[in-house]
């Protein structure tokens, strides 16, 4: 049972997002979220620019608090998502109209955030990227990097410790 209409909450989150086309992405749904009701997933499509990071953190933070995720875990997941997006943005440079897609899903006590870009990661990035990966690894339970021809996807998962809704 929900006391809050998921659609209206998503609208609030999306209003804060700087994402163009985020609503379309949400309506279309992601193939990977087949079993989850609409209210349990959030999908954002963002321009690959550092300016979008603050809006991304705000949207992800709102979505997590809507799902009752406690402050410390909310901080960890939000910062990890932001780091993954910053990586994607860095690697998207020079690729024309680069975008990234952030998907947040919840399966009972598990939260999964995927950040997909349409660029290719360089193995030796500029100074500082190693720390970003180390931070992500420390903040979430698992970090997977899937490299494909069409882009790179970072999948972050974290088990919620308490307050399972």
């Amino acid at each position: 049972m929900r006391r809050v209409d998921p659609e209206s909450t998503h609208s609030a989150a999306l209003t804060h997002a700087v994402a163009a086309g985020a609503r379309d992405a949400l309506r279309a749904g992601e193939p990977s979220s087949q079993a989850t009701p609409l209210g349990d997933a959030l999908a954002l499509t963002l321009e690959a620019e550092p300016m979008v990071l603050a809006g991304l953190r705000r949207s992800v933070g709102l979505w997590l608090s809507f799902h009752g995720v406690e402050e410390q875990e909310r901080f960890d997941l939000t910062l990890a998502a932001s780091e993954a997006a910053a990586n994607a943005i860095e690697h998207a440079s020079g690729a024309g109209e680069a975008t990234l897609t952030v998907t947040c899903e919840r399966e009972s006590a598990l939260v999964r955030i995927s950040v997909r870009d349409n660029g290719r990661w360089r193995d030796s990035g500029p100074y500082g990227r190693g720390r970003g990966l180390a931070i992500m690894r420390a903040l979430v339970d698992s970090l997977e990097i899937e490299r494909e021809e069409s882009g790179t996807t970072v999948v972050l998962t974290k088990q919620r410790s308490a307050g399972v809704a």
Binding site: A54, R57, A86, E90, R131, A134, A138
Partner: protein, 129 residues
């Protein structure tokens, strides 16, 4: 562009960014913080009490800024309130091993590298009556 308020106590600027320090805001903030440290300044206090998120670009900026100041014999002192989520992050990346991290501005201004010069400054001034 991130908001930044700067208060000058003795010769020590206390800079408080009003928002997150990330890949978008760190480069500009680095420049503006550097401008705040004059040649005769013993250092600067960076107060993170209004900063919710600090990403790896922001952390790199802080490490680099601290190193640059050390080369000029000046000190970067961080303020992170005990209730801030940034405490755990700072410990994770080793900020407290590289520079003083204090719970309040008062504590930061008492750090020897800053306080010593502040005292020298006080004694060089005419005695107060």
């Amino acid at each position: 562009v991130i908001g930044l308020s700067v208060e000058r106590l003795s010769r020590v600027p206390v800079a408080r960014p009003r928002g997150d320090i990330d890949a978008a805001t760190a480069p500009d903030l680095h420049e503006r913080l550097t401008e705040q440290v004059s040649n005769d300044s013993p250092g600067i206090v960076l107060d993170l009490s209004e900063t919710r998120y600090l990403d790896s670009a922001g952390i790199d900026m802080i490490f680099r800024f601290s190193e640059r100041l050390r080369q000029r014999r000046a000190e970067l002192v961080l303020v992170i309130p005990p209730t801030s989520q940034l405490i755990r992050l700072a410990a994770l990346v080793g900020l407290p091993r590289a520079m003083p991290v204090c719970a309040s501005v008062e504590e930061a201004l008492a750090v020897p590298a800053l306080a010593r010069t502040a005292r020298e400054h006080d004694t060089s001034a005419p005695p107060a009556r």
